[in-house]
């Protein structure tokens, strides 16, 4: 009888520890704010080259964070999210060419991109897996080609805008902080999402759509919602990009509808950790930094180097860096361990799961 009561006691203990809510979201939020705050110090250096590099990095943070809503939380591999970026960019360009203000352009971009996501989502979110990925990829390419062939905004869509009436340095600093504020806003939105009913629905859809539907989740509408949510910040980033760069093409390398931007969003999110709060930010920093660094240091082979990175990530870290960190710090429930033991155990777990992924 004594053994029974003691086993009941441990049972109650585990149950209580399970009941205590995980604070992971809070730590992620704090870490995210700290990372962005540190990046915010970059303009103090006064170096224009590194300011430009970090503006791109923060822009990609926003893009990866936005992709995370549909690709990470809902688990729908959207391969054409650059279309919202392009819409944001061309909205700013067209509004400003019609003598509207930059802010009106941004607003127009968000509204049009959200509507476009809704109208596009209604048919394509009935597709699953590869079919969904292919459909979204096709749409992004089509819109870019349309703008080019119909001379939207300019001949072949090659936009050129008048710069703002400010010094070159101040302008660049302002755009840097614009992207940084947007990234912070998206971070807060991600934290809110991860704790909301909406977020639970998306995760349930990702983990098992059939079960989610049977448990009362209106799966289709939640997916459409995630797609729209993912489009809005992407469009703002596109609008900022347009006024920051002043001249850009619709398609091709560096264009506003460049398919590489879509690929980058996916890759960054997966490297960091899809469906996590911090993953997209980490992934964007690492990949964009490496990409620009190798482009300068090893100009001939920077493409192959990045390709090799993609291969390594998909083989060994399909669940991203955040998973590695989590495995390192995770302690088995209810067992007291010294930090050394915990760390050793953590390293062992990480070694095991990377190896099992690799083989």
């Amino acid at each position: 009888m004594a053994s029974k009561s003691s086993s009941e006691e441990t049972l109650v203990k585990t149950a209580t520890s399970a009941r205590r809510e995980s604070r992971e979201w809070l730590w992620s939020l704090i870490a995210g704010v700290v990372i962005l705050a540190v990046i915010g110090l970059v303009p103090l250096s006064g170096d224009q080259a590194s300011l430009s590099l970090w503006t791109f990095i923060v822009m990609y943070c926003v893009l990866a964070q936005s992709w995370n809503f549909i690709g990470g939380f809902a688990g729908y591999a959207a391969f054409g999210n650059v279309v919202f970026f392009g819409i944001g960019a061309y909205a700013v360009a067209l509004v400003m060419q019609a003598n509207g203000s930059f802010w009106m352009g941004l607003l127009a971009g968000v509204v049009v991109a959200a509507l476009f996501a809704l109208l596009l989502g209604l048919p394509v979110l009935r597709l699953r897996g590869h079919y969904f990925a292919i459909a979204t990829l096709g749409v992004a390419e089509a819109v870019g080609q349309f703008i080019q062939s119909k001379n939207v905004g300019a001949t072949a869509g090659e936009i050129s805008l008048t710069p703002p009436n400010l010094s070159y340095q101040l302008t660049n600093t302002l755009f840097f902080y614009g992207f940084l504020a947007l990234s912070l806003l998206t971070l807060v939105a991600t934290v809110w999402l991860s704790r909301s009913r909406f977020g639970y629905a998306l995760v349930a859809i990702r983990e098992n759509e059939r079960a989610a539907e049977s448990l009362g989740i209106a799966t289709y509408w939640y997916k459409v919602g995630a797609f729209v949510l993912s489009a809005a910040p992407t469009a703002i980033a596109g609008g900022l990009f347009a006024y920051w760069q002043l001249s850009f093409d619709p398609t091709g390398e560096g264009g506003a509808f460049d398919v590489n931007i879509s690929v980058a969003m996916v890759l960054m999110t997966f490297l960091g950790g899809a469906g996590t709060i911090l993953g997209p930010i980490l992934g964007a920093i690492i990949i964009e930094y490496l990409s620009q660094y190798t482009a300068i240091a090893y100009p001939g082979i920077h493409g192959p180097l990045l390709g090799a990175l993609i291969i390594l990530v998909t083989i060994f870290l399909p669940q991203g860096l955040i998973r590695v960190v989590k495995e390192l710090v995770r302690s088995p429930a209810g067992v007291k361990q010294s930090y050394q033991t915990r760390f050793r155990e953590g390293v062992r777990r990480v070694a095991r799961f990377t190896a099992s992924n690799g083989i």
């Binding site: 585990t14 009941r19 009913r197 989610a212 539907e213 009362g216």
Partner: protein, 285 residues
């Protein structure tokens, strides 16, 4: 082993006058040309436990799909609480109070057990807050003996725990009608006994239950009424004792030759070669 004996009629059993909570009328479902369910009609009264049995491929799981909304009927009507639900999607039916489990368990593998159950509570259409949903989930985890495993991930569970998680998640929806699709298949006898007890408790708390099962012993212990399906059709319906001694049922389950042998040997001398029929002993036709 008391659960093997037929359930006494007075325990929460509903009388014939109780209105039907669920009614299927002439429901047919064809996949291609073959009918998986063929002109099936039956009703489930509020508060009762209906068992549905039948050999492999009899159409039992299709019936669950038809009631839960994952499968649309080719013809016929499905009524729930007086309302035609035949065209509603699964999530709309879930909001009305229909919960189901899956024969092939469908956990959210990346989530832990508790989070799995919270999802069940969050989306039942009652607009629970997260805090309320967590409270409901913890309560359900205790009831289903999963509290100690609350932190395990959906893919770290044994078969028995997976089946229990299916039930826990459905229970967290606080349904009026619970559809259980072979929640006892693959369990060892002691786990079956636990599951039977749990189903009874659920029923006593006021939930109407439809149990689909292979194991006759289990279904006999838990059902007020039993319906037998064969090739998509209903071949018998009634109290467990009557149905399990029905000649057509024995033929469908064990083949005509075995049925003949049974008729000829009057004794209950361990004739049953299959465990599915083990509890049918001593109730000779």
């Amino acid at each position: 082993m008391s659960h093997a004996s037929p359930r006494p009629m007075e325990s929460s059993a509903s009388s014939d006058t109780t209105p039907a909570l669920l009614e299927l009328e002439h429901v047919t479902k064809r996949f291609g040309g073959l009918p998986a369910v063929d002109d099936l009609s039956f009703a489930v009264r509020e508060g009762e436990v209906l068992g549905i049995i039948g050999p492999n491929g009899a159409g039992k799981s299709t019936v669950i799909g038809l009631i839960g909304g994952a499968i649309a009927p080719t013809s016929g009507s499905v009524r729930f609480a007086g309302r035609d639900v035949g065209r509603l999607s699964p999530h709309q039916r879930a909001h009305l109070g229909i919960a189901r489990t899956f024969q092939i368990t469908q956990p959210f593998v990346g989530l832990d057990v508790r989070e799995n159950v919270i999802v069940g509570a969050l989306f039942n259409g009652k607009g629970m807050s997260r805090a309320e949903a967590m409270r409901v989930a913890d309560e359900v985890l205790e009831r289903t003996h999963l509290a100690a495993k609350a932190r395990l991930k959906g893919d770290e569970l044994t078969v028995a725990d997976c089946k229990r998680l299916e039930m826990a998640r459905a229970l967290a929806m606080q349904p009026r009608l619970l559809l259980l699709d072979e929640v006892m298949a693959g369990l060892v006898p002691s786990e079956v006994e636990l599951a039977v007890r749990l189903i009874r408790e659920i029923n006593h708390s006021g939930v109407t239950v439809v149990v689909i099962e292979h194991i006759m012993k289990a279904i006999q212990g838990v059902s007020d009424r039993v319906l037998v399906m064969h090739f998509g059709r209903k071949i018998a319906e009634g109290s467990p004792q009557d149905v399990l001694s029905n000649q057509r049922v024995i033929e469908a389950y064990l083949g005509e030759r075995y049925a003949r042998m049974r008729r000829e040997s009057a004794a209950d001398t361990g004739l049953a070669p299959s465990d599915t029929m083990a509890s049918g002993e001593g109730e000779d036709a």
